[in-house]
Symmetry: C2
């Protein structure tokens, strides 16, 4: 059962009991996403918190030239939403789409707000989720502040080795905040350096 994965992710903070699991299950919607399928489009209101059972999604911004800027990736056992739009019920500046075929569980705003009101466990679990997400973003800012594209790429490789392997270059470039063309040069340079290091 897919929701077991979700319950498990709460276990280290405030586990749910049987009744709570059952109740939560009834509020979850399972969806299967194809590659490129959106769960949130720019200018729509974000109405769900999304748990990823399997696959990989990205949250990104499309600027006025049409260029896409990845803000964040999320894979198995992670959550993704657009907090600002979700809580303010205003149009989202960001979009969220599946990069890989994915399986997700979604909970609507009404259901989540209901849970917050009626069971304090959810405050705990979602506090922890928000705090972790915050740390992730802060690290991202830190990295863009402190170094050039090559170091950021190396840092990305070591922080998210499995992501680096499964994502197309285009997505990584967009996350690093550089053009695909420039990323190609950076990547080849890194590979060349590694080869040189191997040869001695």
């Amino acid at each position: 059962m897919f929701s077991e994965k979700l319950f498990k992710s709460f276990d280290s903070y405030l586990p749910l009991n049987k009744a709570e699991k059952k109740d939560l299950s009834s509020r979850l919607t399972e969806r299967r996403l194809k590659r490129r399928q959106y769960i949130l489009q720019q200018n729509d209101v974000c109405n769900h918190f999304t748990f990823i059972v399997e696959g990989c999604l990205r949250k990104f911004y499309i600027d006025n030239k049409g260029a896409e800027h990845n803000i964040q990736f999320a894979t198995e056992d992670d959550w993704i939403t657009e907090y600002d739009s979700f809580y303010s019920v205003r149009p989202s500046l960001l979009s969220i789409e599946a990069i890989e075929p994915s399986v997700i569980l979604q909970i609507s705003r009404n259901d989540l707000l209901f849970l917050f009101l009626n069971n304090a466990k959810y405050d705990r679990n979602f506090r922890v989720i928000a705090e972790k997400k915050y740390i992730e973003l802060e690290n991202r800012i830190l990295e863009s502040a402190r170094c050039g594209a090559e170091e950021r790429y190396l840092s990305f490789l070591s922080r998210y080795p499995n992501l680096a392997a499964r994502l197309p270059n285009l997505q990584i470039a967009s996350y690093l905040g550089i053009t695909p063309e420039f990323f190609s040069r950076v990547k080849n340079k890194v590979i060349a350096n590694n080869a040189a290091a191997q040869n001695h």
Copy 2:
């Protein structure tokens, strides 16, 4: 009483009752900070959540060349901490210092963890704090992704008009991710544009 400000900041989410206020008060430490006074030094562990009663603090990163990069400002009625170090109890990559003479209230990790365990209201209130902080950071990333220094400055001006007025240029430049020299040019250009717009 300074802690009243703090209690008030909870009112829109989950207000505290009298007994809770008294208990929380006993766990708060009031401190007065001079300009430039640190409450967290890089490589120290962040042991407190800090509420700002009055003044302005900044969280920043010092790179290996000694250059400082502002991650976030916090003023009256806002909270500041380094989540990663606070929860992991590991040395912080970031520093926090007062930009203005400030009055703060601090709660220690032990006390806050105690409150989380014993009163679910705190999970709620600190969930909301983390979510707001997350939104703030996401906006910051968005802005650095979508535009050049001049637009970022204009956007900063409109988003935080009072901050822009009270901060020295150096701090703003560091927040925008540009050098003070370049910021000076950007600012003068913006001023020139405004003057031109006035004259017709």
